[in-house]
Symmetry: C2
Subunit: 155 residues, 2 copies
């Protein structure tokens, strides 16, 4: 499939999802021009705040390819990913991203993407979300255990 055909599929998924009562977002993950997995926004349908279209597509692609490393894959998403989804794209080592709508378009119809990008750029003390560091000394032990583990599976 061509790039345009792959993006049109992501866009079609976003429209179908609105008809089904979900958010206006769709995503496709492709490898060598073929679709590996698709995702739509299932936040309200599944009671899962993490179930954005890109997350659903990444999880499905990982299940399909039986790996947590999606190197060699590309993501086509109907809208610029929010920080959660963009973070997931990095963790999954996806090679390249294509998107249709921008985060400002998403903000205009009531989605918090742009706000969350701003929040993440602030130091913790300046964020709307209150946070507190606790028991750092005790928490460090698991990191030492990880460092010393000879047979760890890195990701």
């Amino acid at each position: 499939m061509t790039k345009e055909e792959l993006m049109r599929r992501a866009v079609a998924l976003s429209e179908e999802n609105v008809k089904k009562g979900g958010g206006p977002f769709g995503a496709v993950i492709a490898k060598d021009g073929e679709i590996i997995a698709e995702g739509t926004n299932r936040v309200t349908a599944n009671n899962d705040p993490t179930a954005h279209a890109e997350m659903e597509a990444i999880r499905a692609a990982s299940r399909c390819l039986k790996t947590f490393d999606l190197s060699g894959c590309e993501i086509y998403t109907s809208c610029e990913p929010c920080p959660m989804c963009l973070g997931a794209i990095y963790w999954a080592h996806i090679d390249r991203m294509y998107y249709g709508n921008g985060k400002k378009d998403a903000a205009r119809i009531g989605f918090d993407d742009a706000f969350i990008y701003e929040e993440l750029g602030r130091i913790p003390e300046k964020r709307r979300l209150r946070s507190e560091v606790m028991l750092s000394g005790e928490a460090g032990k698991a990191f030492l255990m990880w460092e010393e583990k000879a047979d760890k599976v890195k990701y």
Copy 2:
């Protein structure tokens, strides 16, 4: 349970997870001082790059409370959340966050948290991840459909 007890549980989960072969991360979601859900890093165990401890805890709490809105809940996590998880904490409307290790500690033992924070702060053209805007006009239709939908469930 006290704040310290809740954080100690998150820390204990992080240590147990290293022993089980997973990443050194644990998280707990609490409401009114009681644990609603727990999570550990399952990336390699489940072949799911999105299965960080906080994500697993948020998904479990949402399943438990049967809602995508975790207002009134707090998250205790053994390490400062990466952008993916922090984004999810915002989307879930969690009230407050407590964490032990910092993102620089995570970077020191080989995790990409700090790098991903830097990447998200850059404009798309300056990021390591290559990206491209495509078919914006066509992608906009789903947003119009969403705006015009009278019975939509907002999130």
